[in-house]
Assembly symmetry: C2
């Protein structure tokens, strides 16, 4: 018999309760012993809910109970989650968490504490919801040098971009629609500005490099500036636009970025639509492998958490090691990374403006979807150089304004 | 230091040698000890090849050497692979294998022998080449009742179907092309008739049910009958055709099948093209997750084998259990499974033939891409009933011949 405690009875927490209750036969068989929920911690009461029998308002009940083998942290945020997880590990209990904020900010330290105490800190559900990605990176991609990881890691923005892709919906309408459907929060900032995806790529990059990649060091652009007209240009390129979280690792170092990118139909990520997520991992031997599924949702996320419960029970006091250390990973500046961009400019004189583009960028193919504007795709050049050239272009009399630039990957 | 032996220095075997040699730092770090190849068994000599130093022609050298911890079986076939694997396990060595034929025919027995001897028999590379699928099923999908598994499990046929999809290439031309590129063997039977995909879905179904699903019990249709004209009908439906290996598990039992299926653009498998493979797993909690990557190829397959080497070294004498038992899994007949089919008929009188279809099948929408023919998609009905109705239809005077039927999934 393995007894567990769940910290938090919100969406994911009640999902974990449901998965362990409904699929107790399967979970127990895979854990090789009966799994029982001994406590659920929440400040609230839930009269009439089956959780009542195991509900506690006091974390001390859990941390002081030597019968509790695994603690599930699904509260979100870092306060008090960080303290509770740390104290659970120090008390010799393994922990699993779906909390990307906690893992991004304190993962290295918590894994080290788990190691000292011969237990484990697992967090499959912190990236990609129900999609197995952390465990495959730890246990399956073990013969490869990871060259890059790129993914659609936020379901809210992917849902909005999928709906905007026809070019008939404004950003504000797409947001409203996502909020009405329950896919976007009332304050959608963390999703639409890319912060959520950024935390997740920080976690994946930390695993890939073995060092601590910080959220704050990853240049992040969200989707809130993308307009209906931008979408028409995207469609004219034949590609589709996705909020891509990407990390590239080579001999010289690593860089990471979150930004909307126009990707071609050949990119396996281009067909990942609606609230689905996918992560593409490139290894030097394996080539590309992709992991696809529901990036959020109560039961999918809970199932991933419970897979960690099962592994924690099986592992007992065998620590699997730290996926990354507290040593800070220095990321390269994006200035020296070669990229292509779709550039959309408002013009005073279209002919002269296109001549200027030709002179400055050496590009003579243009896309037009709206009067008084033109657009083009730059050659592959260092980002800093493109910035310089755009500055120069914007000073041309024929050019009214550089309206938009969007990353483009052929 | 962990010493290993490789049985077979063919494509995959030389790949394993290369991966362990080139990425020795990564492999050793993940295995938590230095990994060294002590023997490679092959009947041939390889003068000048770095393998020479560790080459042996005698399996007894390996099985009798107590220093050898892990044996890698990449010979293919069951003779002598089965004996070598069995004897290695009995000698207390863990084994990893990429050999789907061996795993399908003897997996249950070999896992049981591994358990008795407190070692492990792992076979990640036997399905999906480089794609992590066996390990995710064992260690990540542990909170779910698996409802179905469907996949594109054969790269050769997927390459051919992708090339045929425009409707300009005959089957024979597509085969020739695949042979020229090295994607199809001189005798392509195992690939094009679906036997390779069948072995792989038998393995996946055995994992999902915990019982032994036999290759011989799975109705299998290959792609060799698909014509250029069939492809035009497929395109007219708006879907794409893939050789789908599928297993469905429900309370009443399980069924499995390998056959060409027209799938809609919404199915995530529809965008899996060329030699890529993908496996879609449906769980009752997780929903659908998909695993995508190179289904074959020297280094990709070898990397998956080496991930098993790493796990075997980490596990030491901890047996992970048997994924399925020797008990035979009884599969349901497909007769009672409800399906839809695209039916293509040659006609003597098109109007009367379509009237007959309308009478017999209750269908009044037709697809026409060629004179003297018509085609339609049946309603969802039991396969046996569709067969009966087709029999009746073929007896109509207005119908010359039921030319083709292809499974259709909306």
């Amino acid at each position: 018999m393995a007894k567990i405690a769940i910290l938090g009875y919100g969406t994911v927490g009640s999902g974990v309760f449901e998965v362990i209750t409904r699929n107790n036969d399967i979970v127990s068989k895979n854990a090789k012993e009966k799994v029982e929920i001994k406590y659920v911690l929440d400040l609230r009461d839930f009269p009439g809910d089956p959780v009542e029998k195991v509900l506690t308002h006091n974390f001390e009940d859990i941390v002081s109970d030597s019968e509790v083998e695994v603690v599930v942290e699904v509260m979100g945020g870092t306060k008090p989650a960080y303290d509770f997880v740390k104290r659970s590990l120090q008390a010799g209990k393994s922990v699993c968490s779906s909390n990307k904020e906690l893992v991004e900010a304190h993962g290295a330290e918590l894994m080290a504490i788990a190691k000292e105490n011969s237990v484990n800190f697992l967090f499959e559900a912190s990236v990609g919801g129900g999609i197995p990605i952390i465990r495959p990176l730890r246990t399956s991609i073990t013969a490869d040098r990871i060259l890059s990881i790129s993914g659609i890691l936020n379901g809210t923005t992917n849902y909005m971009l999928t709906n905007m892709s026809s070019g008939t919906l404004k950003y504000e309408e797409a947001l409203k629609n996502a909020q009405d459907k329950g896919y976007a929060e009332k304050d959608p900032t963390a999703d639409v500005e890319g912060f959520d995806a950024c935390r997740k790529i920080a976690i994946l990059s930390s695993i890939a490099t073995g060092k601590n990649v910080s959220f704050d060091d990853i240049p992040t652009t969200g989707i809130s500036k993308i307009t209906k007209t931008d979408m028409k240009y995207v469609n004219a390129t034949g590609g589709s636009i996705k909020l891509i979280a990407k990390a590239v690792l080579d001999e010289n170092g690593a860089w990471a970025r979150v930004a909307p990118v126009i990707i071609s139909k050949e990119n396996p990520l281009s067909t990942v639509n609606k609230v689905f997520n996918a992560i593409l991992v490139e290894g030097d031997m394996l080539g590309e492998t992709m992991y696809y599924g529901k990036g959020a949702g109560k039961l999918a996320t809970a199932a991933a958490v419970v897979s960690d419960v099962v592994e924690n029970i099986l592992l007992k006091n065998n620590n699997v090691g730290c996926l990354w250390s507290e040593e800070k990973m220095q990321l390269e500046s994006l200035d020296d990374i070669e990229v292509q961009k779709l550039v959309r400019i408002k013009v005073n004189d279209i002919e002269k403006a296109e001549e200027a583009v030709c002179d400055i960028f050496g590009v003579d193919e243009f896309i037009t979807v709206k009067d008084g504007e033109t657009a083009f795709i730059t050659k592959k050049e260092k980002e800093a150089l493109i910035k310089e050239k755009l500055e120069k272009l914007s000073n041309e009399a024929a050019v009214k304004q550089v309206r938009t630039t969007i990353l483009y990957e052929a």
